[in-house]
């Protein structure tokens, strides 16, 4: 990964309270795991940004090294890596994701 890509990812992560790196868009997710991650964020009702890695090969590869995580989607909250869709689901079901958003003072959607 080039320094420029690393910096671009760092800026995205730092510049958004909640950001999901995903395949496709919230309206048209291109993978079941990304679709599940979006459904969880929608249920939580938090404001979030999404990055479609299919539109950017450098970010698609770079985010895996950046997070030391081999798969997409990937969720960041307040600059911290939270996990992929399986961890999101476990945390959601345990109420931990809602708690994390509350603890971090994340804004609700609209």
């Amino acid at each position: 990964m080039t320094d420029a890509v690393h910096q671009r990812i760092a800026d995205i992560v730092k510049g958004n309270d909640v950001v999901l790196f995903m395949k496709g868009t919230p309206l048209f997710p291109q993978c079941g795991f990304s679709s599940r991650a979006i459904a969880i964020l929608e249920h939580l009702g938090v404001a979030y940004e999404s990055i479609d890695v299919l539109q950017d090969q450098a970010v698609r590869q770079g985010i895996k090294a950046f997070s030391d995580w081999p798969t997409i989607p990937q969720l960041y909250v307040k600059g911290e890596f939270v996990g992929g869709s399986d961890i999101m689901m476990e945390m959601y079901e345990a109420g931990e994701l809602h708690q994390l958003m509350a603890d971090q003072g994340v804004a609700s959607a609209n």
């Binding site: 079941g32 795991f33 895996k64 798969t71 997409i72 939270v82 996990g83 992929g84 399986d86 476990e90």
Partner: protein, 75 residues
């Protein structure tokens, strides 16, 4: 990738792991794995899953696209 191969790789790297693999679609391509290991104790979920991914030696996200993964410590 065969379910047994996935389980074998995880057990080879995490000897105390109990591994359950479910073939979700019956197509030998979409799996769910549940890995329970005492050695996960004290690790958060991200660290536990990283340990499993490391056991799979870079196949995750490659030949293993569709692996749902849950990890836990024994009760």
């Amino acid at each position: 990738m065969a379910a047994d191969d996935i389980a074998d790789m995880i057990r080879a790297a995490i000897p105390d792991a109990q591994v359950e693999i479910t073939d979700l679609a019956g197509d030998g391509d979409h799996y769910a794995a549940r890995v329970v290991a005492e050695s996960f104790r004290g690790m958060n979920r991200v660290a536990q899953q990283r340990a499993v991914y490391a056991a799979l030696g870079g196949r995750m996200g490659g030949v293993l696209h569709a692996l749902q993964l849950t990890t836990a410590v024994p009760n």
